[in-house]
């Protein structure tokens, strides 16, 4: 496994060098001069560009960043293509930075805009497009460039399947996300999808998917850490008194672990657990 990983890294590194400055990732746009930065950022040096913000990108298995600028007279549009290991990870970092109150745009997956910015997700890419010159680029021009970048990337459209497990009813708008590591602050929990519910939106549902054995292993590690008296086994679910995270309701269904946080109301929690369980194909 290690060897395979290493080989992939090596080949990637070489490809990066060869193509630096000419990645083929960017479209030519009439009236705009496109210049790609020679430097391609990797996990080892992303912080040189975005400082401490790099840490969260690395936690989503950031692979590389290509940067290009489109210039037309006084206007500059900067296009940053953050590539992550999987589309789940791209979705994870995208949602970690997404402001739910920004207006949505129909570009890539989950595109949104704010002043001088269009961001969207496209397959394994998190794409950031921004007006970068002194003279602001108008919204429609940014959208036009964003659409062409999206078309050139030609990535599959859509969201991870796990998102469909969350019932729409009562879900807080755009509250779904993906945590790639250390879910709930525990390294043994790996990755989880989550969404918020209720009013004022405090209740958190989460779903962890793996093999049944791996799910069992996570539960074992969690319960060992908590000590037995903190875990109450009910009929088909657990009620957990977690020192750090409060009351946690958990249900295992095959390869899926479903959880509810931030409520003490067992009936409400059980309702959510069952709703998610029913949606598992």
């Amino acid at each position: 496994m290690f060897k395979k990983l290493m080989m992939t890294n090596l080949m990637l590194a070489v490809v990066l060098y060869v193509h630096a400055g000419d990645s083929g990732l960017y479209p030519q746009i009439p009236g705009w001069k496109m210049q790609e930065e020679k430097r391609v950022y990797t996990a080892g040096d992303l912080w040189e560009l975005i400082d401490g913000a790099a840490d969260i990108f690395l936690s989503y298995y950031f692979q590389d960043l290509h940067v290009a600028e489109y210039t037309s007279k006084e206007q500059i549009i900067r296009v940053e293509l953050y590539r992550h290991a999987t589309s789940e990870n791209a979705y994870g970092i995208f949602t970690a930075e997404r402001m739910p109150d920004y207006p949505q745009v129909n570009i890539g997956s989950l595109g949104y805009k704010s002043q001088g910015v269009v961001n969207f997700m496209a397959g394994t890419y998190y794409v950031k497009i921004m007006s970068a010159g002194v003279q602001e680029v108008d919204e429609s021009t940014l959208a036009m460039v964003a659409k062409q970048v999206d078309a050139k990337l030609a990535q599959p459209v859509g969201l991870p399947d796990e998102i469909k497990l969350f019932p729409e009813e009562g879900k807080v708008y755009l509250s779904d996300n993906y945590i790639a590591q250390n879910f709930l602050g525990y390294s043994f929990f790996h990755a989880a999808f989550s969404a918020r519910y209720g009013d004022p939106g405090d209740i958190q549902l989460f779903v962890i998917r793996s093999t049944p054995e791996e799910v069992q292993k996570m539960l074992d590690q969690y319960f060992t850490m908590l000590k037995e008296d903190k875990v109450v086994r009910k009929n088909g679910y657990f009620v957990i008194n977690d020192l750090f995270n409060g009351t946690v309701f958990l249900k295992q269904q095959g390869n899926t672990l479903i959880g509810v946080l931030n409520t003490n109301n067992e009936e409400v929690a059980l309702g959510y657990l069952n709703k998610v369980a029913e949606r598992i194909p």
């Binding site: 290493m6 040096d45 602050g185």
Partner: protein, 401 residues
């Protein structure tokens, strides 16, 4: 919120967390030490230069906004100083901290954030015409709104990499105005490139109260940075350390983790460094870092781990790319350095050979180039290393194990 989240007494959380630490950290040492569980820990604190801020030597670098419970637990456990930035997670990081801390007395925690102006080249640090005073003021107003606070304790000029930028008049004016308005109690600047020059600029400026600098045991400029830190601390500038874990891994492939407690202790043994902001994303890290607040003494194992990591660092190319434009033959020098590390660091000869073949398979890539023009900041004699490792290209793969 769960009912059991409400008993937020620090002592309880500390002792219980230490009790849970054994299981979390995969060791029984902490959990079995009953004296330690009962004892209220003595936390090492240092005063941040001439400021009135007195903080534990380990602070909390807030990296993610998805687990407010972790930050809350850290605060209740005894972490005091929390570090964020206007740009982290497009602002969601600050928003989370604002939501969390609004229910605590403002003087019970120390909050630091960072801003940089518009139109600043993040690579070279050069400022364009859009890098105005107004852009700093506007961004910081947004930060205050997100944080739901009237002031922050430390406001950093974010990511300064040149003396010129550190002393840019419009920047000093903006930060001075915010300080005078009481919106920032102290002004600092953060640096992780060209740190020694930037710290010197802070010393010369008579303006900055705090410097947040990258420093770790394998930083190629560590000695020089520490010299500047000593001068700055002597002058009353508060020193905060970042990137103390040296990336968390010895290698770029992230296969060999660094002993993080050891790395943190190495930094904090320098008493001119007043606190540090390691990024914390899990409870086991939080507990481990908390234990560093109590003792900075390196165990024998930690010393050995640091020695090993330093050794590997000596082989490790930072990938800074400075060599690329310098090489007369435009060789991908950093890739040859990588092959060198596989060969001598990991003894992964087959990986090295594969890489060399991808690079063209020449056993003498420098060819007739006699005078090497590459000056590597890590001090690698790149031509020697290239010609040494490239010889592997002549070895038949069957003989490579």
């Amino acid at each position: 919120m769960g009912e059991n989240r409400n008993f937020s007494r620090r002592g309880f959380l500390r002792s219980s967390a230490i009790g849970a630490a054994g299981a979390l950290m995969g060791t029984s040492t902490l959990a079995n030490d009953s004296n330690r569980i009962r004892k209220e820990p003595v936390i090492i604190k240092r005063k941040l230069g001439k400021t009135d801020i007195d903080v534990p030597v380990v602070s909390f670098g807030v990296m993610r906004s998805d687990n407010a419970a972790l930050v809350k637990s850290a605060f209740e456990m005894g972490f005091v100083h929390f570090d964020t930035a206007n740009s982290y997670q497009e602002g969601r990081n600050e928003t989370m901290l604002g939501e969390l801390f609004k229910s605590y007395p403002r003087d019970s925690f120390v909050l630091a954030t960072k801003v940089y102006p518009d139109d600043i080249d993040r690579q070279t640090g050069a400022m364009g015409p859009g890098a105005t005073k107004e852009s700093i003021l506007t961004k910081f107003e947004t930060s205050l709104k997100r944080l739901q606070m009237n002031y922050v304790d430390i406001l950093y000029f974010h990511g300064v990499s040149t003396r010129e930028v550190a002393l840019a008049p419009q920047m000093l004016e903006a930060f001075d105005e915010l300080k005078k308005q009481g919106k920032a109690r102290y002004i600092g600047m953060s640096t992780h490139q060209n740190e020694a020059d930037v710290i010197q600029a802070a010393i010369d400026s008579n303006f900055y109260d705090v410097v947040l600098t990258a420093i770790n045991f394998k930083h190629s400029q560590a000695d020089l940075i520490k010299q500047k830190i000593a001068v700055a601390a002597e002058k009353g500038i508060g020193i905060v350390a970042m990137k103390t874990m040296a990336g968390g891994f010895m290698d770029r492939e992230r296969q060999r983790p660094i002993n993080c407690s050891a790395a943190l202790k190495w930094v904090l043994q320098d008493t001119n460094i007043h606190t540090s902001i390691p990024g914390i994303v899990a409870y086991d890290q939080m507990i481990q870092n908390f234990s560093v607040m109590e003792s900075l003494e390196l165990t024998e194992k930690e010393k050995a781990d640091l020695e090993e990591a330093k050794l590997v660092a000596g082989l490790y190319c930072d990938g800074c790319s400075q060599c690329l434009p310098q090489c007369k033959k435009k060789l991908p020098v950093h890739e040859y350095m990588r092959a060198y590390m596989y060969t001598y660091g990991y003894r992964h000869f087959d990986n090295a050979l594969t890489l060399l073949q991808e690079l063209g398979g020449s056993s003498n890539p420098c060819g007739d180039c006699r005078v090497c023009t590459v000056i590597c900041p890590k001090g690698f004699r790149v031509a020697e290393r290239i010609n040494d490792v490239a010889r592997l290209s002549d070895v038949p793969r069957e003989l490579v194990v």
